[in-house]
């Protein structure tokens, strides 16, 4: 798989070989290789909606590789505010940089950008649709601990209906036929079409409404936030959110080897007392965003092969 000049818009365009390439390159970078290899290259971060962590992580990845960064966050003071179309912005900025990272609240914006840019476009989130580098860093983190992605048992907990990170990661894991558990309240179940797609790809799926009976069943529990806005009734929300809160005793009940992941930011779905446990790997997961994004930048710029 040659990434040179390619845009990274959606997980659906990638296969296991591409994932392997990204995982191997990320590992090499994490081990200290390829520092400064993007000297003289320029990244433009176009954040049409703010996402400080994602933006900083891309910018830091680019600078660690010796490259430069330009860009904007929010559309308040830019020509976008004056009514410039997305396509015009992309066509113009393409001439100012070697690679573009875009975040946009509208689904499909990154695809449209990639169709009109003269340089590779990396999707850093388009509405509820895709955020592929999140999936890469999730896979990388899992692969660091469990070397075989096809035999790990992964549970997804929380908002599986709207959770973009969950959708992409579950799809990616289905290419490895990883057995998956979808644990959510009825209201926030994984969309049917995705369940079908994932099952067809070859993953065995277990859909349950809570963590009961899952002790020693899982290697990884991937937790996501349940958002208040999804509920009409606040009492119902409190009840559901309470059942899906991960505390020390919940972790203990899942077995001593369980690893807890989370795409962050979290609110209160994982109790802070969990942070100090060996089982909590969500900060490590977030830190892996740097070498993984370094790898993606190096690969699409054709500097790494």
């Amino acid at each position: 798989m040659d990434f040179t000049g390619k845009s990274i818009v959606s997980i659906r365009e990638l296969d296991k070989d591409s994932f392997l390439k990204i995982l191997v390159t990320s590992k090499e970078i994490k081990d200290g290789k390829y520092a400064d290899c993007l000297r003289g290259k320029l990244l433009a971060t176009l954040f049409f909606e703010p996402s400080t962590r994602t933006r900083l992580s891309f910018e830091s990845a680019m600078r660690y590789m010796g490259g430069g960064v330009i860009g904007f966050a929010g559309t308040e003071y830019t020509s976008v505010k004056k009514g410039e179309t997305l396509v015009d912005t992309i066509k113009t900025v393409s001439g100012y940089c070697d690679v573009i990272v875009i975040r946009h609240p509208v689904e499909g914006a990154a695809r449209l950008a990639s169709e009109n840019a003269g340089v590779p476009v990396i999707n850093a989130g388009d509405g509820a649709n895709q955020h592929p580098t999140q999936t890469f860093l999730d896979l990388f983190t899992m692969n660091e601990i469990f070397s075989d992605l096809s035999t790990i048992r992964v549970g997804f907990l929380g908002d599986l209906k709207y959770g973009r990170a969950v959708h992409s990661l579950a799809y990616a894991l289905s290419l490895y036929n990883t057995p998956l558990w979808f644990i959510s309240p009825e209201l926030l179940k994984m969309p049917e079409y995705l369940v079908e797609e994932i099952r067809e790809n070859g993953s065995r799926i277990h859909e349950v409404e809570n963590l009961e009976g899952l002790d020693e069943q899982l290697d990884i529990l991937y937790v996501t936030r349940i958002q208040k806005e999804r509920f009409g009734d606040m009492q119902e929300y409190e009840k559901v959110a309470g059942c899906f809160r991960i505390t020390k005793s919940v972790v203990e009940s899942l077995g001593e080897n369980i690893k807890i992941m989370h795409p962050l930011p979290r609110v209160d779905e994982i109790d802070q007392e969990v942070d100090t446990l060996e089982n909590a790997i969500y900060f490590k997961q977030a830190h892996n965003g740097i070498p993984v994004r370094q790898a993606v930048l190096g690969l699409v710029l054709g500097v790494l092969q």
């Binding site: 509208v106 689904e107 499909g108």
Partner: protein, 148 residues
């Protein structure tokens, strides 16, 4: 009277077995509004179907890639290519690989719903028919398809 007699033509394409009242939509999808002489018949009785529409396009031979675009609204249409007053080719409609600017995306937060850009759908499954928006990646099933 047989529909063909009404429509006898020497050169061109006849699209038969269009579900009734969809003829204008077919013309729209094929972009034939300003393409010379068209004759349109709506609501003929048919042995195969309840009621059908027929379109005759004079002096124009539509290619398969073109006529496959109408597969969503007239899947059972038959295409007759007439040359020198004789039927030279008769073919059925097949599903194309993708539909460009034919299907509406149902997702209100899709870039194609928000901005004025062409929709693109790829076929992910032929039977049952499932399409995926190339932009927001949502899928739509046969029964949910809305033509632009």
């Amino acid at each position: 009277m047989k529909a063909y007699k009404v429509f006898a033509i020497n050169e061109g394409t006849v699209i038969d077995h269009i579900p009734s009242t969809k003829a204008l939509k077919v013309i729209d999808i094929l972009g034939l509004e300003n393409e010379g002489i068209l004759t349109i018949g709506i609501g003929f009785s048919s042995e195969k179907m309840d009621k059908k529409d027929i379109i005759k396009i004079e002096n124009k031979y539509l290619k398969k890639e073109e006529t496959d675009k109408i597969s969503l609204i007239a899947p059972n249409a038959t295409i007759n290519i007439i040359k020198n007053g004789e039927l030279k080719e008769k073919r059925k409609i097949e599903l194309p690989e993708e539909y460009i600017n034919i299907v509406k995306c149902r997702n209100p937060n899709c870039i194609t719903s928000v901005k004025d850009i062409k929709t693109k759908f790829k076929i992910v499954s032929r039977s049952p028919l499932i399409l995926r928006c190339l932009y927001c990646e949502r899928v739509i099933k046969a029964g949910e398809v809305e033509i632009l």
